[in-house]
Amino acid sequence: MPSPISDAMVGMTPEERAAYKTAQFAAMNPPDSLVGGTRMVAVNNITTVGGILQFEVAVWGTDGMGGWMLVDLEAARIAGEWGGNPVRVVNPPILVPDPGGDVERTSEDPITHVVTSTFYREDLDSALMQIAYDVTEKITLPNNEM
């Protein structure tokens, strides 16, 4: 499983890495919507503003009849449930946890000195959707679902 972005960033400064990752996101096509439980999330209008990754989020909740109902995100913003569109991301992540992934990160407990490994895969689609999912997770859905 290739990790071209991680490989390309070897030797870069943190600022260069953040800029490089942002450019990769801006060049991607919007991923398919992400469905989690009673919530479906989609992103669109991916771009950069002042070197910062920017996109807009749309959210649907179940309508109780097997379909999806678009959530009024502006009403949710006014209600204080989230900050509103657009969403901007500084230093966006590109790795998502995956036990079968080929990117290994080891950590050592500072006291017990037990070393454990966490595996990730490089996946911009999933990383972007996870950001969108997290940023809208407190929004009240139709039928009061969360």
């Binding site: 990790s3 943190p14 890495r17 969403v87 991301v89 950590s107 407990d109 006291i111 950001i131």
Partner: protein
Amino acid sequence: MSTLVVYADTSDEAMGSDDGYGQDFDTAWNGTYSAARSGTGYSRYPIYSGVEAVGQEYAVGNVFYDGDDHYYDWFAVYESFLAFDTSSIPDGDTVSAAVLRVTSYADYSTTNFDIQARLHDWGTTADWVAGADLSGLTLLGSYATSGGFTATTGYDFSDTAMAANVNKTGSTRMLFCSSRTVGNNAPTTTEYVNIYSADESGTTRDPKLTVTYAAGSTEVYDGPGPTLDAWIIATRTGSFTAAAILKRTQVGSFTADAAIKSTVAGSFTTNAVLLRGQTGSFAANAITLKAASSSFTAAATIKATVADSTKADAIRLRTFWFGRVEDGF
């Protein structure tokens, strides 16, 4: 409104301070909590382990070292240092909320505590902050481990003063510490947690700060009662007080130190005024009028037309009518 999600800089650091281990190979290694907490004990050291550590610990026992068994009485305290590049927020914008989220790597808090985030500009290289000095750092937010701290799960900190301290001109830097370290409560066993730190490539488990902010706005009032130092409006129906004003229409009473008006339907008082039409009484120290249909008093005035009585200390008129008393012109 906009939402800004800032993932932590990879310059994040963690430090430990301990006492009670290896000072003297010929005697028992008796450490003290006060030495570990202050950073004056056996050692202070950066933790290069890939995780952030927060909390403190006590351990006692024997260790075989250098050919001998040594009794040890060991205390350790951990602090972590995080930074978020929030400089993309325009200086004039208002931050209304800021939520810090960390992902648990492990929970060793057999004694629960609050993970506290405190404002601390540690620059680019972290150094130990003595436990006694922690309370002097602004508390930004906290999370109580009594609420659970399950590995790989993200937890939001309460926003005590996070939003108010987001740095719009650089990075928002902070320190993580235990509430029990702040309170000078010595550990009796393990009471620390490990947190996923920022990875160079960036993972979705990295610490992140989600900021809600809005562009700086110009409030426009058209209701009763505002008081402003200066105002330019087209139409006004309620009373107000202004130090200076440039108006086209006024139907309610007002007081102004200086005013330029085209039409006034109600009474007003002004120290200086430039009017095109005036239908009610007024008093002015200096005035330039094109037309006046009722009485007024002015210390100095320049008028195009006067239809009623006037009194002026100095006046220059184009048309003269009856009933005026003039000191000279």
